[in-house]
């Protein structure tokens, strides 16, 4: 059986790939998908902790984070569509609505 540290290391690696993706991509939709990747990585570490401590609470937390991810995807994609209708672009380097 594989130890918990391998699962945690894999989760850390996926999380960091998500961080790098958020930092280097310009397409707003791809940035959203990278956020989903980070959420998934955290879910993996929660489940591995839950499984190794023999406690279901971590899996319940994953359930809630899934629901939060669904809500975030819905609202975020609606915002992206609204921005696209005003700007005709989802390139975040061209979106400066909140620039002071």
């Amino acid at each position: 059986m594989i130890g918990i540290d391998w699962f945690l290391a894999l989760s850390a690696l996926l999380f960091c790939i998500g961080v790098i993706g958020v930092l280097i991509r310009k397409n707003a939709i791809v940035i959203f998908m990278c956020v989903e990747l980070m959420l998934n990585a955290v879910n993996l570490s929660l489940i591995s902790f839950s499984s190794h401590y023999g406690n279901v609470d971590g899996q319940i937390l994953v359930f809630f984070s899934l629901a939060i991810a669904a809500a975030e995807a819905v609202v975020g994609l609606a915002i992206i569509i609204a921005i696209f209708r005003n700007n005709l672009s989802v390139d975040i380097s061209k979106i400066n609505l909140l620039r002071w």
């Binding site: 998934n40 319940i60 359930f63 939060i68 669904a70």
Partner: protein
């Protein structure tokens, strides 16, 4: 056997995540994310979380990714041509930051790895629908209801944002 399965799934997950970040076509990115989620569902099965593995495939790879693909197709965005062309410094800094975060997490995992537990034997049935529903509807009933409210609010918000008229000069 389980070790080989873990290695296969881990390599698949990392490779699909990397391909998702570096592929230029947005649709390809979304499909690689689906592959990544399915391999993560396999890892959940290895950890005896059967319910969450099924939910991962049904909700994430099924519903949410269909939503993403729908938006990609609706907006019809072309591929980023300027992904790796200019601003090399920005990518270098991003890569450096990512490696830094990874090193920090690995350091904290490594310093605690002696105190981490081994697999407990009573966990074999803990990931079933029955076990999760038992806890979800007794101990976590209030957060469950709050999640329901939150999803309703998110749906209403999405409808309000999407129905908002495009503001032009004549129509205010």
């Amino acid at each position: 056997m389980i070790t080989y399965f873990f290695i296969f799934l881990a390599v698949l997950a990392v490779a699909s995540a990397l391909m998702m970040v570096i592929s230029k076509n947005t649709v390809n990115s979304a499909l690689f994310l689906v592959l990544n989620m399915i391999s993560l569902a396999g890892l959940f099965l290895l950890l005896q979380a059967q319910f969450l593995a099924i939910i991962q495939v049904l909700v994430y790879a099924g519903a949410i990714m269909v939503l993403f693909l729908f938006v990609i197709m609706l907006l019809n965005v072309d591929e980023e041509t300027s992904l790796f062309s200019k601003l090399r410094l920005k990518y270098f800094v991003a890569f450096l930051l990512g490696v830094g975060v990874f090193a920090q997490i690995l350091f904290s995992i490594g310093s605690f790895s002696d105190t981490l537990p081994t697999v407990s034997s009573e966990m074999a049935t803990a990931g079933t629908v029955e076990a999760i529903g038992d806890v979800l509807f007794s101990k976590y009933i209030l957060p469950f209801h709050i999640i329901a409210m939150l999803l309703t609010a998110a749906m209403n918000g999405a409808i309000m944002i999407a129905q908002h008229k495009v503001r032009t000069e004549g129509n205010k």
